[in-house]
């Protein structure tokens, strides 16, 4: 218990116990970290989570399979349809549903659009944490365009409930491919500005280089994934390691950096945005304009008894789901493996010994989303 509630050390007066969060502006939601501060230096750090807990996994046991998709949306609320995919893939495997090629490509386009949207939110909030206000508003306007494209097809902006077993719920809007192409042109122009404002800024260099170094060994031991892992030099990406949907058809690279510091995590996310644009450009070429968007799924969804784990490369890392079926129309158990949750485990490692201002920069480079962490 003593590790949970940070008690002052008797007789030690130079350490101040500060409670950061859950209403602190830099904690991206409802993270609470109890910090022991010695001047500006952090001596102890205990993260507390659970302020946004909604009992997702238990609720999903009481819902039929199509209903669960709507619930998975609510986990990582800045990356929309990305959460639906692992569950959809797992149930498709269990049912043996064939997914048409075009549906796979549409799903991948949405997946990558949401990766761009999520990284844009990360960039804005990370720069806000570092003290720059303007990039926040620029990135949110770009994200607004993505959400507008999604809304035109799926009917909702952040929680679209768009994927379904065998494909997607409805065909894309006739303007969809043109909208995406226009957005990519716009995004390529804007990326130049973001390079100037974020990656090239000497202030960002000063704040992030050599700060919060996560070495390769510890990154693997702590089970982090996604950009945080790749910034530590491990080229692991579910899209390459266990390809799903249309990823085998497209060419892209996995950007990695050997440094493992906060700047490397910034840099890797930036390069991922370029790769997303590249993937989207290829998919726009490859996807047929018309065709089937949904395979034949059984009307009564009763997967045979058994279990299945599927994972996808979310904006934050490996987002997996384990579905256990007992042969009824409701899953026996749904276990989500959240990337943001696993990435948050390294907070005490990286915080202790850092400056208080560094802690803010490190936290923003981990890009936690509390809808997924607390579930």
């Amino acid at each position: 218990m003593s590790t949970m509630n940070l008690e002052p050390v008797p007789g030690r007066t130079d350490e101040m116990i500060v409670n950061m969060g859950p209403q602190h502006p830099a904690t991206h939601g409802v993270l609470r970290v109890v910090l022991g501060l010695e001047g500006e230096r952090i001596t102890r750090a205990v993260p507390h989570i659970g302020y946004l807990h909604r009992n997702h996994e238990k609720i999903e046991e009481a819902r039929t399979y199509p209903m669960v998709i709507a619930y998975t949306d609510r986990m990582d609320y800045v990356s929309g349809t990305q959460n639906e995919l692992p569950f959809v893939l797992a149930v498709e495997d269990m049912l043996g549903v064939e997914v048409p090629d075009r549906a796979k490509k549409i799903r991948t386009i949405f997946f990558e659009l949401y990766r761009l949207a999520s990284h844009l939110v990360w960039m804005g909030t990370a720069m806000l944490d570092l003290g720059a206000i303007s990039p926040f508003l620029y990135t949110f306007w770009d994200r607004e365009i993505i959400l507008g494209i999604v809304e035109k097809t799926a009917g909702a902006r952040m929680l679209p409930n768009y994927y379904t077993f065998g494909g997607v719920r409805r065909d894309v809007h006739p303007d969809f491919f043109k909208d995406v192409a226009d957005f990519l042109d716009h995004m390529e122009r804007r990326m130049v500005d973001y390079e100037h404002l974020v990656l090239e800024s000497p202030v960002v260099h000063a704040r992030t280089k050599g700060v919060g170094v996560l070495d390769q060994e510890r990154a693997v031991a702590r089970g982090v994934s996604g950009p945080v892992l790749r910034a530590s030099g491990v080229a692991y990406d579910v899209r390459k390691a266990f390809p799903y949907d249309a990823y085998p058809d497209v060419e892209f690279e996995i950007p990695t950096s050997p440094d493992g510091d906060t700047y490397a995590r910034f840099w890797v996310r930036f390069q991922e945005m370029y790769q997303s644009i590249r993937i989207l450009r290829q998919l726009l070429e490859l996807t047929p304009k018309t065709g089937p968007y949904k395979g034949r799924a059984p009307a009564r969804l009763k997967p045979p008894a058994g279990e299945r784990y599927r994972a996808v490369e979310n904006s934050r890392g490996e987002l997996g789901v384990l579905v256990v079926s007992d042969g009824s129309d409701k899953p026996y158990r749904v276990k989500h493996r959240g990337a943001a949750f696993s990435n948050l485990q390294i907070i005490p490692d990286l915080f202790v010994g850092a400056k208080f201002s560094d802690a803010i920069a490190i936290l923003s480079s981990l890009d936690p989303v509390f809808g997924e962490i607390d579930r």
């Binding site: 035109k152 009917g155 409805r170 006739p174 800024s201 000497p202």
Partner: protein
């Protein structure tokens, strides 16, 4: 020498950043003046739910309970009794708790007769949450006020000025429906 270069790089980067920021002054802001100018939402946008009646005022809903079964948030409550004269069922109660509704439109997907539809009326702010516990009159009123609505079966439907309900032209339809709803000769040519 390298120190001087470093300083020069930093100064140049700060200058470029400042120029990047300042050039927005000369561009028109993309701001939408929301309370004064209403945003144009796509027809499929899920903002609220409504229960459509036929043109003659009779009920479209056949009380099949599909929406109640499909609802993930389980906010739809329907009670019915068998029609004493003729076939089918009559509604006793049709409530949707729009406070707990998560607007996933699963009910709209499930509806076989496109009675429950999504509408674009998003301005539902209220001081009293109880007013959002919609009963059947509330849902009918929402539909009567709406100019257009969407359901996956019938696509976008419009209410004309003289009260008739008609299908929207193909260019207003979302993907997948535009082809189906096109007049036959156009498809041939």
């Amino acid at each position: 020498m390298s120190l001087l270069q470093e300083v020069w790089q930093a100064v140049k980067a700060i200058g470029t950043g400042m120029a990047t920021v300042h050039k927005r002054v000369y561009e028109e802001a993309p701001t939408e003046f929301y309370p004064y100018v209403k945003p144009e939402l796509p027809p499929v946008s899920v903002q609220s739910l409504a229960l459509v009646e036929n043109e003659d005022g009779s009920e479209r809903c056949i009380v099949c309970l599909q929406c109640e079964r499909a609802c993930p948030a389980q906010v739809i409550t329907i009670e019915r009794h068998r029609n004493p004269e003729g076939k089918g069922f009559l509604i006793d109660r049709f409530d949707i708790d729009l406070v707990n509704c998560m607007y996933c439109a699963a009910c709209v997907e499930a509806c076989p007769v496109s009675s429950i539809v999504t509408i674009q009326d998003f301005e539902m702010s209220t001081y009293d949450l109880q007013t959002l516990k919609a009963d059947i009159d509330f849902l009918h009123e929402q539909a009567r006020r709406a100019r257009q609505w969407y359901s996956p079966k019938f696509g976008v439907e419009l209410r004309t000025d003289d009260g008739r309900i008609e299908k929207a032209p193909p260019e207003m339809q979302p993907g997948g429906l535009a082809e189906i709803l096109k007049p036959a000769e156009e498809v041939d040519s």
